[in-house]
């Protein structure tokens, strides 16, 4: 498994990575929410936290913005020690929460004005930023409308506008697209890439594979542990298992046959096909699977396939459970 951090290519503002964490741990009583996470995130990149609910994504983000004090370990964010220098960090970061957290009873423009004032933008710059953001996120027509009456996609664009009004160097997005349709999600990611082109570093948590695949770097979190890290391509190429794609008319029987093999890590159904992850230790996985099918008298075509990100995710989280 690729454990090296993603290429720290062409950092935009300084040589230090945007985020560096060393053995970051957070315990709530008995529960270990984040368990010794070590990572390094280069500047001007989109870095993703991929993991199921409760895997520690939000807690890690909260520690990195200085909202939670780590039980153990340390973190440097934009050259500042966290949480010691969290106050000065706040001006340099933007945060978009999982749920819409601007004011529903204020208008779109009032919300942006308020955020601008909270970040102490001088009046002229504030005006300029509000107008620019309204245009950038296609909210000009809605400027006078109360935020509570916006659609899911509009709310989300407003939230991103609010989080970037002060042009932060680093943007934290906590599952930003949970309540949004696919088209809005694509538009949203276009906006993120535009921000990265401008030099912003983005840390986004998600449980969508297609979103994770768009990130430059990716960390897979499971039960508070960082179980895999790298670019999506590195992760897919370096998967610690063989991926066998099975095409068959007898899905149930094929599945039973695969499950009977001790080296099969997991089986997932994709339409009329099955994706089986088989232990790396298996020398000739195709032959082994074919043998199992013949023994069970299951007609099927078998092919060694490229791993998808989902396969990587299953392999990484499955290994932890074992």
């Amino acid at each position: 498994m690729a454990r090296e951090p993603a290429e720290p290519a062409a950092p935009a503002g300084g040589t230090e990575p945007a985020i560096r964490a060393e053995g970051l741990t957070c315990r709530f009583g008995e529960l270990v929410a984040v368990d010794h996470v070590t990572l390094s995130i280069p500047r001007a990149r989109i870095y993703g936290f991929l993991g199921p609910n409760g895997s520690g994504k939000t807690t890690t983000i909260r520690m990195l913005c200085g909202l939670l004090t780590p039980s153990e370990g340390e973190a440097r964010v934009l050259g500042r020690d966290v949480p010691r220098e969290a106050e000065s960090l706040r001006r340099a970061i933007g945060y978009m929460t999982q749920r819409f957290s601007l004011y529903e009873d204020l208008s779109v423009r009032e919300n942006l004005e308020f955020m601008g004032e909270i970040y102490s933008l001088p009046r002229a710059r504030r005006r300029r930023r509000v107008e620019a953001l309204l245009a950038e996120f296609s909210l000009e027509d809605r400027a006078g409308q109360r935020a509570g009456t916006l659609s899911g996609g509009q709310k989300q664009r407003l939230a991103l506008a609010g989080a970037t009004i002060h042009e932060p160097e680093l943007l934290f997005l906590d599952e930003p697209t949970s309540a949004v349709d696919p088209q809005s999600r694509r538009d949203f990611w276009e906006s993120l890439f535009a921000l990265v082109d401008g030099g912003t570093t983005i840390l986004v948590s998600t449980h969508y594979m297609d979103e994770a695949e768009r990130c430059h770097g990716l960390a897979i979190l499971d039960a508070g542990r960082l179980v895999a890290e790298g670019s999506p391509r590195e992760l897919m190429d370096g998967i610690d298992a063989h991926v066998i794609e099975v095409e068959t008319g007898a899905l149930r029987a094929a599945r039973a046959a695969l499950d009977s093999l001790p080296t099969v890590l997991s089986v997932a159904q994709l339409g009329t096909r099955l994706h089986a992850l088989i232990d790396r230790a298996e020398d000739d996985p195709e032959d082994r699977v074919r043998g199992a099918f013949e023994a069970a008298d299951v007609p099927a075509t078998i092919e060694l396939a490229r791993a998808s990100l989902e396969d990587v995710f299953v392999a990484a989280t499955r290994k932890e459970a074992a």
Binding site: E87, T97, L102, Y103, D105, E117, I118, F172
Partner: protein
């Protein structure tokens, strides 16, 4: 420093806009004081008069008739029934027709002449404490006498009521009502304003911005302080117009005292907001603190009649001190400096509640 001010102003402005759009709260700001003023001003009358009374005059003399007429003239009682015996009066009282019975015995003249024992008997319905105390006043009614000198002998006590000679309840109640209404609205508004922000997720975002906890709290409080002073004006204005409440002290002192009191109640509201996680809990907690203040502050029941422990508890409540201050300024014309010893407990309460809320605020986020 300038940035701090800017952020506070941003919160104030935002809060004001939200308040203006929240019709229910806006209505409560003005509706609640007026409603309570009318309710308490007109309905609650501790000055008991016109108690229904029955008379059993067994003497039937000139003097006994004058005595009954004197009792009726006091306005404490209205004679609504006459009876032939004390037993008959008792029956009337048991059935609820009368609250007071006056029995004038056969030997009324002899008793008056000898002056050794009470000339007449007063039956009182003791099941109602207000009736009891009012009727006891009647017992001091002098008996008409013959001969030279004053027609009636002087009573054992001469009772004079200072500051409120007509003993009108509204005069005592309206100033205290300023405190009651402020306690209710200010505590509730602040508690709900903060809890709402948490419930709707706004705080989750705000804590990641440069706005600091004290800035946020001050910004949220300021609009309500202004509302509080507006309510004071409303209540005093209506009190003067509708109930002839005197304003004997300086208005500046009234507002200064109100300002300190409003600060103390807002502090309490903030503290509640750090304890409650839903708006409903905030409501409940507010009423939980509201009840003892109403009952113990001397607004409803006389402070001096309460047991020691209750008095100590009452001394901890801001409303107790404010009622003393505001009655002092409005009715007795004392200056704020003159009643300053009641002011510092309010200041102390404000400082303590603000410190506690600020300490609790961050912890309550997770």
């Amino acid at each position: 420093m300038r940035e701090t001010l800017g952020r506070i102003l941003a919160v104030v402005r935002k809060e004001a806009v939200q308040l203006r759009r929240d019709r229910l709260t806006f209505g409560m700001v003005f509706g609640l004081p007026i409603m309570q003023l009318l309710l308490f001003g007109y309905a609650i009358n501790q000055d008991v008069r016109h108690l229904p009374a029955g008379v059993a005059d067994l003497a039937h003399t000139q003097r006994s008739r004058v005595f009954v007429a004197d009792a009726a003239a006091s306005q404490v009682v209205d004679v609504v029934a006459t009876a032939r015996s004390a037993e008959e009066l008792e029956t009337l009282m048991r059935q609820g027709w009368i609250s007071v019975g006056i029995v004038i015995p056969h030997d009324f003249e002899r008793r008056v002449a000898l002056g050794r024992e009470p000339a007449a008997q007063l039956l009182v319905d003791g099941s109602d404490p207000t009736v009891l105390s009012a009727a006891l006043g009647l017992a001091r009614l002098p008996v008409p006498r013959d001969g030279p000198g004053p027609r009636a002998a002087p009573a054992a006590f001469e009772v004079r009521s200072f500051y409120n000679p007509e003993r009108r309840s509204a005069v005592q109640i309206v100033p205290a009502l300023i405190g009651v209404i402020l306690t209710m609205t200010m505590t509730l508004f602040t508690a709900v304003a903060i809890v709402r922000e948490r419930e709707r997720g706004n705080l989750e975002l705000l804590i990641t911005t440069p706005v600091r906890t004290p800035e946020l709290m001050v910004g949220k409080i300021v609009p309500y302080v202004l509302i509080g002073l507006l309510q004071v004006t409303l209540i005093i204005g209506a009190g003067v117009l509708l109930f002839d409440v005197p304003v004997r002290g300086a208005l500046v002192d009234v507002y200064a005292a109100a300002l300190v009191f409003v600060a103390a109640t807002l502090g309490l509201g903030l503290l509640i907001s750090t304890l409650a996680s839903t708006q409903f809990q905030a409501f409940q907690l507010t009423f939980f603190t509201f009840l003892p203040q109403i009952l113990l502050s001397g607004f409803m029941f006389p402070f001096d009649g309460m047991p020691r422990a209750a008095q100590w508890l009452a001394e901890l409540l801001p409303l107790t001190h404010f009622i003393r201050i505001i009655r002092g300024i409005l009715l007795r014309g004392v200056t704020l400096a003159g009643i300053g010893h009641e002011l510092w407990p309010l200041v102390l309460f404000f400082v303590a509640s603000m410190t506690l809320s600020t300490l609790r605020f961050r912890k309550s986020l997770d």
